[in-house]
């Protein structure tokens, strides 16, 4: 039994080290104290709400979030705006709807059930407006990048003057965390770019942290439930294992073989 468990653990360790070694190639990412990491990790609501503000005031000019709806803003486990606040936010966007009974498309204020308004009508329009680079949809962006939240956070703060041996074209910037170091997004954040309603000082780092938290939530909206359920499930499994172990010992005591 002991031998079995130790061998099993060795196998798992090898298995893990193989996986983690695959993802270790980019420069060391910046770390910050995320509240959503760990067994009991939860989102910082205030940070999520500020992050939403950064998204609408800064990112939303170019980046869509096509899988999010305004109702998500008031759902538990997210920024948890009140339903009225979420309705108010939604109503500040004009959404294309229709056709009406005359066959015409029309605009109306968005409702909770509507998806986030997209900055461009389609990918081609987005490319055309951004020098040929498509600003990626941000709904699952954190999960779509190696390094996840740390990577996004680092990228936002990773703009530098290029080393002397690198020549950059117009509209291309140097970022030490970007794959290939060349990025078409201009420096997105600067101190005091937005004014936070809750009085938090809008430094570059603070905004990077808030928007990354918001993007982490948009990629994993059920993270809090997942952590909570996971803890219960594992505790339950451990208890049941102990009970089954005792039962097994009892049953096998009828034969003299070791198990």
């Amino acid at each position: 039994m002991k031998k079995f468990i130790s061998t099993f653990i060795i196998i798992l360790t090898i298995f893990f080290s193989q996986n983690s070694s695959i993802s270790a190639e980019t420069p060391k990412l910046l770390k910050t104290d995320w509240t959503f990491k760990g067994l009991f990790g939860k989102y910082d609501r205030a940070s999520l709400q500020r992050g939403y503000q950064v998204y609408t005031e800064v990112c939303a000019a170019c980046h869509s979030m096509q899988y999010l709806s305004y109702r998500n803003l008031s759902e538990p486990g997210g920024p948890e705006f009140t339903e009225d606040e979420a309705k108010f936010i939604a109503a500040s966007f004009e959404i294309l709807d229709g056709p009406n009974s005359e066959g015409e498309m029309f605009t109306r204020p968005a409702k909770l059930s509507d998806k986030f308004l997209m900055p461009y009508d389609n990918v081609e329009a987005a490319k055309a407006a951004n020098g040929g680079a498509y600003p990626p949809d941000m709904s699952v962006l954190v999960k779509a990048r190696k390094g996840g939240a740390d990577y996004i956070y680092s990228l936002l703060l990773g703009y530098e003057d290029p080393p002397s041996d690198i020549k950059l074209d117009d509209g291309v910037y140097y970022n030490k965390y970007m794959y290939g170091n060349k990025i078409k997004m201009p420096v997105p954040l600067s101190d005091g770019l937005v004014e936070y309603g809750d009085g938090t000082l809008a430094t570059e780092e603070q905004m990077a942290k808030d928007i990354t938290t918001f993007l982490m939530w948009s990629a994993e909206p059920h993270l809090e439930t997942r952590h909570k359920t996971g803890f219960r499930v594992i505790i339950y499994l451990i208890i049941l294992s102990i009970l089954v172990y005792l039962t097994m010992k009892k049953i096998w005591s009828r034969v003299e073989t070791k198990i």
């Binding site: 709806s69 109702r71 059930s113 009970l243 039962t247 009892k250």
Partner: protein, 170 residues
């Protein structure tokens, strides 16, 4: 005595294990069942707002709410009188017309025959209301069942008048 004790303890462990296992299986099955319930995006569409400003007396429109047709009928005075003059004794499912409308001019109801779920045709049937072509149920101008196999009157959904011209269903 001495051989009784271990037996009890054994029974306790067996029972506790079986019970704990059963609880776990139950808990694991629930997500598999619940996933078939309406999801969050469906629930978000649970209410719909309708502009009725263009509906003239005597006309009716059909709107979709929760995937089902809702009849919104602007009744003429004649139709209202007809619905209100019926004595409750004549009805299979006695309901006053007053209880079925918020504003007598506007009848808002689920356009689904209570027999087996077909959509009745308007301005048809022996009572000038609706007629279900599937199995011949006749409804009056208040959407009440008068003749045929349907057991009850057509259902009234939850709705409110947000203003004179807008009805919010759900």
């Amino acid at each position: 005595m001495s051989d009784k004790k271990p037996k009890n303890r054994r029974d306790f462990i067996f029972t506790a294990t079986a019970a704990a296992g059963a609880v776990g299986v139950g808990a694991a099955v629930w997500p598999l069942v619940d996933q078939m319930n309406p999801d969050a995006s469906v629930k978000a569409l649970a209410s719909t707002e309708v502009d009725v400003s263009s509906v003239k007396p005597g006309q009716s429109i059909t709107v979709v709410w929760r995937g089902k047709p809702v009849f919104i009928k602007r009744r003429t005075q004649e139709e209202i009188d007809k619905a209100r003059s019926v004595s409750l004794d004549e009805l299979k499912h006695p309901e006053k017309d007053e209880d079925r409308v918020k504003n007598p001019e506007w009848l808002v109801m689920l356009g689904i025959c209570t027999h087996l779920g077909c959509v009745p045709l308007s301005d048809k049937g022996e009572y000038d209301g609706w007629f279900c072509p599937c199995h011949g149920s006749h409804y009056d101008t208040s959407g009440r069942i008068r003749k045929g196999p349907a057991p009850i009157n057509m259902e009234i959904p939850e709705y409110v008048f947000l203003n004179e011209n807008t009805i919010k269903i759900g």
